[in-house]
């Protein structure tokens, strides 16, 4: 993974290297040009002085050589040569011997500069100058001579090149030092700048399941990081809420399973504690079987709920005889309802067919009837209506009503009308199943207290 720090540092270092290189190149070029101009100026001076030594003397031309140390020394000498317009060589520098300097072309009197190779093989710089011969003792205002001398003067460029090389060395040295210093400083600054990000990462690293609800403080964070952290905190808060829900659900499931399990174990242990007649064992085994069936139903409901959560259930669509379905679902509750003197009235048309998933609808109706059977006061009534366009089914009972504070949570898992009802179909997830399955079937499940003190559960098709 390439870190942000590495990228920032690399970018800054690259830019810095480019700027420093450009600076060095420009400095080198400017200096080179300045040195060449300086050399040209010196050459122009020398050439003018040499040209001034050529005199017009009564129709002839004479070169009055004066001392020019630059052109006479033995080591790295300068060279010059002077011509008259007719091509006759007027003078040569002592360093030239019998050799010729090249003419630099152009016949005008404007000075011409050029690079060339000196007769001794060194690289050099030359100037060509053409001017009128000087007239000795001419009065001021007299016309200049009609005859011209052309001077080519050349010197070695080694001084300029040595200066340039020395400056280049310094430029390299300074550039490299500046580069190294700046790169190091950038690295440090970037690392320091990213310290809050690393601090946040460390805090996230230290988070465990227990501390997930504690937000990471955003005070003092840079404005680039603070919004990320606050979004992260929102996410953590949602996660913590979800964990808490999950923990509560697990605790509830654990309670719902432990209670019948405890009864099962005690029943078997007590039965086995001493010798009994066969009828007593049979009674204990019947109790144990009932408990196992109850736990099986609970586990089945929990699995169904889990599959509903995971949306793994296919939904069928076929014609369902609603009346027969309700009658089938009622059968298991008839005995308990009889004990509690509850009366069931089914107000459905005889041929009431709806298109739905019969198995899912059976789960819904069974749980609604179980709920009504369990909670309706003894001697009361349960009425099933429905089959209309908007209301598929309605299960109403004679009460008591659901406490108002519980009504909004009645379809939540493990929210019970009575905090301690345990076991069986009405184990606190029945109504959660109703809502889950209804959502699958495209139905709305709602609960309300009726004005006459009863409770009404209604399954409607959304408009």
């Amino acid at each position: 993974m390439r870190s942000l720090g590495f990228r920032l540092t690399a970018a800054v270092v690259l830019v810095l290297a480019g700027v420093l290189a450009a600076f060095a190149v420009v400095t080198h070029l400017v200096l080179e040009r300045a040195l060449v101009r300086q050399l040209d100026l010196r050459l122009a001076g020398s050439a003018a002085a040499i040209a001034g030594m050529a005199e017009d003397e009564a129709g002839g031309a004479e070169f009055e050589a004066e001392s020019l140390p630059e052109f006479e020394r033995a080591a790295r000498p300068g060279y010059f040569q002077a011509w008259l317009d007719d091509g006759r060589v007027l003078a040569r520098s002592p360093s030239l011997g019998a050799c010729d300097l090249p003419r630099l072309g152009g016949a005008g009197s404007a000075p011409v500069h050029a690079d060339l190779r000196l007769p001794d093989g060194r690289p050099g710089r030359a100037i060509q100058l053409r001017q009128a011969l000087r007239i000795e003792d001419a009065p001021p205002g007299a016309p200049p001579s009609k005859r011209f001398v052309t001077v080519v003067a050349a010197v070695g460029t080694e001084d300029a090149r040595e200066t340039l090389a020395a400056v280049s060395r310094w430029l390299w040295l300074l550039g490299a030092t500046a580069f190294a210093t700046a790169a190091g400083a950038t690295l440090v600054v970037v690392r320091r700048g990213l310290r809050p990000a690393r601090a946040v990462a460390a805090q996230l690293d230290a988070l465990d399941a227990a501390g997930i609800g504690n937000p990471i403080p955003t005070a003092g964070l840079p404005t680039e990081i603070a919004p990320i952290v606050s979004k992260l905190n929102e996410l953590l808060a949602r996660l913590a809420a979800s964990f808490a829900r999950e923990r509560r659900f697990t605790a509830d499931v654990s309670h719902e399973l432990r209670t019948p399990l405890s009864a099962l174990r005690t029943t078997l242990e007590v039965a086995a504690a001493q010798d009994r007649p066969a009828t007593a064992y049979r009674a204990a085994l019947a109790d144990a079987t009932a408990l196992a069936v109850q736990m099986q139903a609970l586990v089945g409901n929990l699995l169904l709920l889990a599959r509903l959560d995971a949306r793994q259930i296919p939904v069928a669509a076929e014609a369902v005889d609603l009346r027969r379905l309700v009658e089938d679902c009622w059968r298991p509750f008839a005995a308990e309802a009889g004990e509690r003197r509850l009366r069931l009235t089914i107000q459905l048309p005889a041929d009431c067919a709806v298109v739905s998933d019969p198995e899912k609808l059976r789960i819904v109706v069974t749980n609604l009837l179980a709920n009504a059977t369990a909670y309706t006061a003894p001697g009361g009534s349960i009425t099933v209506r429905g089959g209309s366009a908007e209301t598929l089914l309605e299960v109403a009972d004679s009460g008591p009503p659901i406490p108002e504070d519980l009504l909004p949570r009645i379809f939540d898992r493990f929210s019970r009308g009575d905090a301690a009802r345990s076991g069986g179909v009405h184990c606190g997830i029945g109504l959660a199943l109703v809502r889950g399955v209804c959502a699958l079937l495209g139905l709305d499940a709602s609960a309300a207290n009726t004005p006459d003190g009863g409770v009404r559960f209604r399954l409607t098709r959304p408009a």
Binding site: T259, R265, T267, A271, A273, A284, A420, R421, G423
Partner: protein, 224 residues
């Protein structure tokens, strides 16, 4: 020993009550917190077995009210809540023990014996009065090394007298600690059973251990 079982899950309450009765306890049961609390306040139970998730009044509330009114009855909480905070809360509210469902019935009996032993300051399951030995765990009685066979009621009577050795115990107290509501004993039943017990324990021995205190009741112990 008489215990109150407050448990709303009927199959569990039924088998627990059966097992406890077979283990020699007089057992009253209640399926909700309010009735349970009323029973606990109205009767001198030796121990209360208390579920936590109860209708009307939850087990912790029952415990809190019971302790707030100064009741010192041994309370053993039976709960499906196994989390540490629940166990700590139960014990801190004044429970003498906390047992997580599902439990082994043997363990429940052992813990019940333990809380009742503590209540009567008996150091171990072996209670000795002179040469009479009562093993509370095995429910076996020996005198001078010879085993004595007792009926369940005789044993319950002797056990209670032994727990309160050297104290005069009234007939009413015996009735309250040896019988549950289901028993409906006749008025002279205590005298009849003390007679049976005396025959089995004291006959053929020089020193008598069961004493009658005229107009007061009975006591078990070496003669004063």
């Amino acid at each position: 020993m008489r215990v109150l079982l407050i448990e709303d899950f009927e199959p569990l309450a039924r088998s627990l009550a059966q097992g406890l009765r077979e283990a020699g306890y007089a057992v009253d049961t209640s399926a909700d917190g309010e009735e349970g609390l009323a029973l606990a306040e109205g009767n001198p139970y030796d121990a209360i077995l208390l579920d936590v998730m109860l209708p009307k009044l939850d087990g912790f509330a029952v415990l809190r009210r019971l302790r707030a009114r100064g009741a010192t009855t041994a309370v053993l909480v039976l709960s499906a809540r196994d989390q540490l905070p629940d166990r700590v809360a139960g014990l801190d509210l004044g429970a003498d023990d906390y047992l997580v469902k599902p439990f082994a019935f043997e363990e429940l009996l052992a813990r019940l014996r333990a809380v009742i032993r503590r209540r009567y300051l008996a150091p171990s399951n072996l209670v000795c009065v002179a040469d009479l030995e009562i093993d509370l765990a095995a429910r076996a009685v020996r005198r001078a090394g010879r085993p004595i066979a007792l009926s369940a009621l005789e044993y319950a009577l002797l056990e209670y007298l032994a727990m309160r050795r050297d104290q005069v115990v009234t007939r009413g107290e015996i009735r309250e600690h040896v019988y549950d509501f289901a028993a409906e004993p006749a008025s002279n039943v205590v005298d009849v059973y003390v007679g049976y017990l005396r025959k089995k324990v004291d006959e053929g021995h020089d020193s008598r251990l069961i004493h009658t205190h005229r107009g007061l009741g009975y006591s078990l112990g070496t003669p004063p």
